[in-house]
């Protein structure tokens, strides 16, 4: 057993990282791991950290490996942000920490899971640490793509690219690690288009599977303007539901914590001005986060929706590729029969346009309406 076992479908990247563990000459002080959402960036970073701290180069069974993988190792620091951005204060703390020698292991490993969320000032604070490497400190930065990371950071780290893992590898992982039935694992891995986290949620949550099917079935049902308006309203409603369900409790807890940190009484009705302004800043960030989360949910639905049009296109072309939505073969066939390949491409364009618009702050409902109007099937 090895720490690399759960890093699936990344042979090339794993080879590079293992070589660095084995051969000091191939090691460097800062790594940038990039890969699409769900490709396993943070899993790869932790495996690398374990391999560096394990006396056997990542055996997966010793105390060092275990404590790295569960995040409790003294020489491992993982910075994972729930917020929209990593603030300069946090970056400064990490830069300070980097100056210290490891306490028990061979390396001090600092993982930044969302390096794309470093604010410019936070990145500046890290820059010196990255420019003047400390003997036994290594930085592991993760981000969706190189372009998402501030250029000064980018240019000071070695880049390792992860790819979207194959469906079979994701299914195998779900079965082995999470004990999910092979058939369900295969379905979920395919439906989630190899996004490991989403696949696990689909496999475990009947509600998530139902919501996904509802979204995909919309495609074959939009005929009139009224259908389009209703489909758009449904899509937007799903996002609002998930958004409010997920955030309320966390928001309240964060506020209490902030007040405690500031030494204010969380029970007090009115706070002094300097504390009020900090609370207002937090609330603004929470609101932004909720909006972003809602948009992410819509975007994910649109990625799902896109997949059924792609399936229809593949079916029309008669190519022997496995469908993403094999479980909705009837719906795929309906679309393939009702629309020409040109119309299918136009529909996919409309979905892409809606994603762009929502990203640019167009109200999701309006963007979805315009999209759904383009998705009407010919009468």
């Amino acid at each position: 057993m090895s720490v690399w076992r759960d890093v699936i479908g990344q042979e090339q990247a794993v080879t590079t990282l293992r070589d660095a563990v084995a051969d000091r000459a191939r090691m460097t002080h800062a790594w940038l791991l990039t890969g699409p959402p769900g490709s396993g960036r943070s899993t790869a970073a932790r495996a690398f950290a374990a391999a560096l701290l394990c006396p056997d180069g990542g055996c997966g069974t010793c105390h060092e490996c275990h404590t790295v993988l569960d995040g409790s190792h003294a020489d491992l620091t993982v910075m994972a942000t729930q917020g929209l951005s990593i603030q300069v204060k946090d970056a400064r703390e990490l830069a300070q920490l980097a100056q210290h020698r490891p306490s028990v292991g061979a390396w001090r490993v600092i993982v930044i899971e969302d390096a794309d969320r470093l604010t410019e000032r936070a990145a500046d604070a890290l820059l010196k640490a990255l420019e003047e490497p400390v003997e036994r400190t290594v930085w592991l930065l993760c981000a969706p793509s190189v372009e998402d990371v501030i250029i000064t950071i980018r240019s000071r780290s070695r880049h390792v690219r992860l790819r979207t893992p194959p469906v079979a590898a994701v299914a195998e992982l779900l079965t082995r690690r999470d004990g999910i039935e092979p058939a369900m694992a295969e379905y979920a891995a395919r439906a989630a288009q190899s996004h490991v986290g989403l696949a696990r949620r689909l496999a475990r949550d009947e509600g998530a599977r139902g919501r996904r099917r509802d979204i995909l079935r919309l495609a074959g049902r939009i005929r009139s303007l009224g259908d389009a308006m209703e489909a758009a309203a449904n899509l937007a409603a799903i996002a609002t539901q998930e958004q409010s369900a997920s955030s309320a409790e966390r928001d309240a807890a964060e506020k209490t914590r902030l007040l405690e940190q500031l030494g204010a009484d969380p029970e007090a009705r009115t706070q002094p001005p300097h504390i009020r302004s900090q609370v207002a800043a937090l609330e603004k960030e929470q609101k932004t986060r909720a909006t972003r989360f809602g948009r992410d949910v819509v975007d994910r639905s649109l990625v799902d929706l896109l997949s059924i049009y792609r399936d229809a296109l593949v079916t029309q072309a008669g190519s022997p590729v496995e469908l993403v939505n094999a479980d909705l073969a009837d719906e795929v066939r309906t679309l393939a029969g009702a629309l020409s390949s040109e119309q299918l491409l136009l529909a996919m364009d409309a979905i892409g346009t809606a994603r762009e618009r929502i990203e640019a702050n167009v109200p999701p409902l309006l963007a979805l309406e315009a999209m759904a109007i383009s998705l009407r099937l010919p009468r």
Partner: protein
């Protein structure tokens, strides 16, 4: 109307809750002119204070204890409330609770003790706001024309408190039936109202008038973003009403969460449209929204083009 020992004002709408509290206290004073009123805040509650305030007064007069925002209350408050209700209170206890499950134990105890519940439900949809405004005038013995309600909602409908104040002002300052012209005189200059006029003209296909109003609105400093939002919402209403088919306006209004006057107006507007042209108009507005949010170089041009495209589609424009 005699006030029972326990009153619960339940719901998030502050304007309504405050009124319910005021009228409850007024009713108590009618029975008991010298009543002593004690006010406690849920989040500032100090253990034991309920026991102190609900115990009989030295001078024998009745007391009323108001506990605001039980939903923000600490555990001590919840415990004390449950205990007081269990042992019975000499004072009238008025509790407000906005929403959520915090304080549920105390709520359950109150409900068991036959509390009088006054609801203060959220007023969000245009339908609810229409009912609210109509009732504001009716309760003060005034008649209001449906067009006036509409104009009022468009001008100051975003905030319920502002809406309530506007109603009060109209009641105080005018006599006779309140019509659209009256509202126009007081609130016609509001930027929001201008946006609605642009949208009305555009949806009706009056290109020249729509453009004139739009230029005027932009010249007076109205931001293109809210204008595009109003265009979208007006077209959305027309599309939804047109797609809903026949049926009584009132039923349709309920089904779509719109006010009956909005249904009637959208129906009238829908007569010049069909699904395809309406669809293209909505798409033009979505494109304009992207442009005014920074996707295009010239936000003013983007909204103008959307207005023109709407009128062109209304006129039967081909693709």
């Amino acid at each position: 109307m005699s006030v029972p020992s326990y009153v619960l004002i339940s719901g998030p709408e502050q304007v309504i809750a405050e009124r319910a509290l005021a009228s409850t206290l007024e009713a108590i004073r009618e029975e008991e002119p010298d009543v002593e009123v004690v006010r406690l805040e849920g989040s500032l509650y100090e253990p034991g204070s309920l026991h102190v305030h609900t115990s009989p007064s030295l001078f024998g007069g009745r007391k009323a204890v108001v506990v605001r925002d039980l939903d923000e209350g600490n555990d001590a408050l919840i415990e004390d409330l449950v205990a007081i209700v269990a042992q019975g209170s000499d004072a009238v206890l008025v509790v407000t609770h906005k929403s959520g499950t915090r304080g549920k134990k105390a709520l359950d105890a109150l409900k068991k003790a036959k509390v009088r519940i006054i609801e203060a439900p959220a007023i969000k949809s245009d339908r609810d706001k229409t009912a609210f405004v109509t009732n504001e005038f009716r309760s003060k013995g005034r008649k209001v024309a449906p067009e006036a309600v509409r104009a009022l909602l468009e001008a100051v409908g975003k905030d319920l408190r502002e809406l309530a104040q506007a109603c009060q002002q109209l009641v105080d300052d005018t006599t006779g039936v309140i019509d659209a012209a009256t509202v126009e005189r007081y609130h016609g200059g509001k930027v929001e109202a201008t946006g609605f006029r642009v949208a009305d003209a555009a949806v009706a296909g009056e290109a020249a008038e729509a453009l004139r109003l739009l230029r005027h609105a932009l010249a007076t400093g109205l931001d293109p973003v809210p204008i595009v939002a109003v265009l979208a919402s007006q077209l959305r209403q027309v599309a939804r009403v047109a797609s809903a088919g026949r049926g009584r306006s009132a039923d349709l209004a309920k089904q779509l969460g719109m006010a009956p006057w909005q249904v009637d107006r959208a129906r009238a507007a829908a007569r010049g449209w069909d699904g395809d042209r309406l669809g293209r108009a909505i798409q033009a507005v979505a494109a304009a929204d992207f442009d005014v949010k920074g996707g295009g170089r010239d936000p003013v041009y983007a909204v103008e083009r959307a207005v023109l495209e709407i009128t062109r589609q209304r006129a039967g424009g081909a693709t």
